[in-house]
């Protein structure tokens, strides 16, 4: 099993349909880009191994469908996430306005222990396009208001800033990673009360 140095991070990509979530992931993982749009069904899973501060990190990237909320899969996707990437399209203001609801829904579904400091990253994608409609300042303002979420402007097509954005997710998620020193605290010793053996119908799962 895992040595102390190896870390697995579960990272979720959220955002409206067509903002380029799958493209970002493919650019990041496979260094590939396709102009053709293909909606994601349910979810895609990809993994990438990166080094963060001398530690080998396996990123388990859950690319979700933006077209629908896929609520039937919601809990599964968000549960136990270590980081979340919120993506919008800089040429489509409505995708930027949706960030609020994506963030809220994530926090409700995943209910992380410390929602204020959960490692989000916001990506404004498609900066290679001419018709930009959301300014960097506006995006940064929103990020600032949500507890200084790091903001990146990327182009999945031209591989601009993609690596950096994901590296930031990994780094921030790692910083959150409380080293779970679970085994140090010894569980209560067994007390011999005579009913240890009693069949615990409700508790005993076996």
């Amino acid at each position: 099993m895992a040595s102390r140095k190896k870390v697995l991070l579960k990272v979720i990509i959220l955002g409206d349909s067509g903002v380029g979530k799958t493209s970002l992931m493919n650019q990041y993982v496979a260094k590939k880009f396709s102009n053709q749009y293909k909606a994601t069904i349910g979810a895609d899973f990809l993994t990438k191994e990166v080094m963060v501060d001398d530690r080998l990190v396996t990123m388990q990237i859950w690319d979700t469908a933006g077209q629908e909320r896929f609520q039937s899969l919601g809990v599964a996707f968000y549960r136990g996430a270590d980081g979340c990437v919120l993506v919008f399209d800089v040429t489509m203001p409505n995708t930027f306005r949706s960030l609020d609801s994506w963030r809220d829904e994530f926090l409700i579904q995943a209910s992380p222990r410390d929602p204020e400091n959960f490692p989000f990253v916001v990506i404004g994608n498609k900066i290679d396009l001419e018709n930009r409609a959301v300014s960097a300042r506006r995006a940064q303002g929103w990020c600032h208001s949500k507890g200084d979420i790091p903001y990146f402007e990327t182009s999945a097509k031209e591989a601009i800033n993609v690596e950096q954005a994901f590296q930031a997710v990994a780094k921030n998620a790692m910083a959150q990673e409380t080293d779970v020193e679970l085994c140090s605290e010894f569980p209560d010793p067994i007390k011999l009360s005579g009913d240890n053996n009693k069949p615990r119908d409700s508790n005993c799962p076996c």
Partner: protein, 561 residues
Amino acid sequence: MATDHREAEQLVNTSDSDLQEAEFVETNEAPGRCDSAVFAKTDDLDDLTLNITNGVIQNHRGTITSLIRKRSKRSNTPRDQETDADLTNNSNPSEQDIANSIEQSELSSELSEDEDVKNGLEDLSLQDTESAPEEAPSVTLIPSASESDYVNSLEWKQQKKHIFILSESGKPIYSRHGSEDKLVTIMGVMQALVSFVQDNKDNLRSIVAGDHTFVFMNRDHLTFVGITRGRESTQQMLLQLTYMYNQVISVLTHSALTRIFKQHRNCDLRRPLSGSEKFFDNLLNLMDVEPGLLLTSVRCLPLDSSVRDIVSQTIVQHAKVKDLVFALIIAQNQLVALVRMKRYYLHPMDLHLIINLINASESFKAAESWTPICLPKFDAGGFLQAYVSYLDEECQTCLLLLSVDIEAFYTLSECCTKIKERLNRYNALTAISNSLQRHSYSVQQCSIGDLRHFLYKARSTAQYTSPELGPPYNTPDQQDRLFGLYHFLHDKVHSVSRPLKLLYHVGQYETLLGWVTQGFELYAVFGPLVTKNIAIHAVNKLLRWIKREEDRLFILSSVTF
């Protein structure tokens, strides 16, 4: 694997007219029976079956397909359907056509991406589309550099049985074959399947796809997945997964496990479990060769009852220490003696965890040890402290003293010294070692013609006995096949929908007889030409033989401190 084409199967009730001429032994006098149980009475599969309604299993057959259909209903664009077709993995001809036609017109970059998706799902369904040699040579050591190649190889896909453990967030914890590190993607897919069904307030129990059965079990924030193309039934796979769950609890305790996930939902459980992988591997290996796990019962080392009495009395006299709950001696996975505190019982499933602990660890051979172990059936909430020491130079006979006192090591170490000394003085260790060298007994010793092999379980004591594996079951392949027959027979007899008292099954290569009474379970394997009458006379004779030998084969009296 034998494909039993011409099998005739007869389900027999004791009132069956054919059988009236053959007389059965009175069943309430089961050999190996004892009134004061040595272990907690085994509850068999009963507690498992309670949780499972047949209907649920039926409902989720083909869940992948229905899941995909649902998805395709939602999506409107034709490109969506294309991915759907990929997902169904060619199971639906019309969708396959769509897939093919679109694949041809696709850009190369997209093609490779699709293949990724496709590969991912092929991995999941483990369908081998290419024809390959039946028995791929099993590789035990895989250099880490080729790990990722290995999990994508045909050999990996063709493993007879896969076992996975993942957290409820879809993080990998354990894989029997291949590094779980390289299976991050497939574990995500499994988690998605499980959660999709859970979201409908239901539970995914199993999926049957081709000759593979996928069995899912959710416990305490963990998902256990077993995939087999062997003869294990869903029930039997669930039992195996339960053993795996128990092994997790044994390392962490139930209270720690729930606390971990309460505090850190995203916890990577491999960390707290690190170092215990060998116990999972070993337990799974045991399950493939040791019928005791299937029968939830243990095998005792055949020993004259006088010798066994000396052993247990020695323990009683020299290990009478406060807070010592169980004291036992185990030799080569067999129980030699067990002494327990009054009011406490050792469940056979717990005992298998103890046996596994000993079996999987080399370090106990080097020095006396003090190790925490949680026994889930005894108390899932905390650790017992186990003093472990081998009693002989050859490291075959192992003494375990299980206490609730964390400070008891030196006290118990002294007990061990005394026990060892007395056992040597009474030549009991020599007797144990002689018995180990004699290798149990052969089926010929029962002197019953046509009987090739059998498993006999005394239900009240949760102990079983069986002869050594002789010809024709002297090769690993044949042993595997025999084990498959026992799985089949066991499953038929314990079928949830129709439990049987008696099953007479004529197969291509052997005839099987399964017989379950209040007192015992008997699974007998005969040559193919045996007749029903001969078989019934033979098992009656066998029961008489076991009765004669029961003092030697079983621990009949329960010893307490």
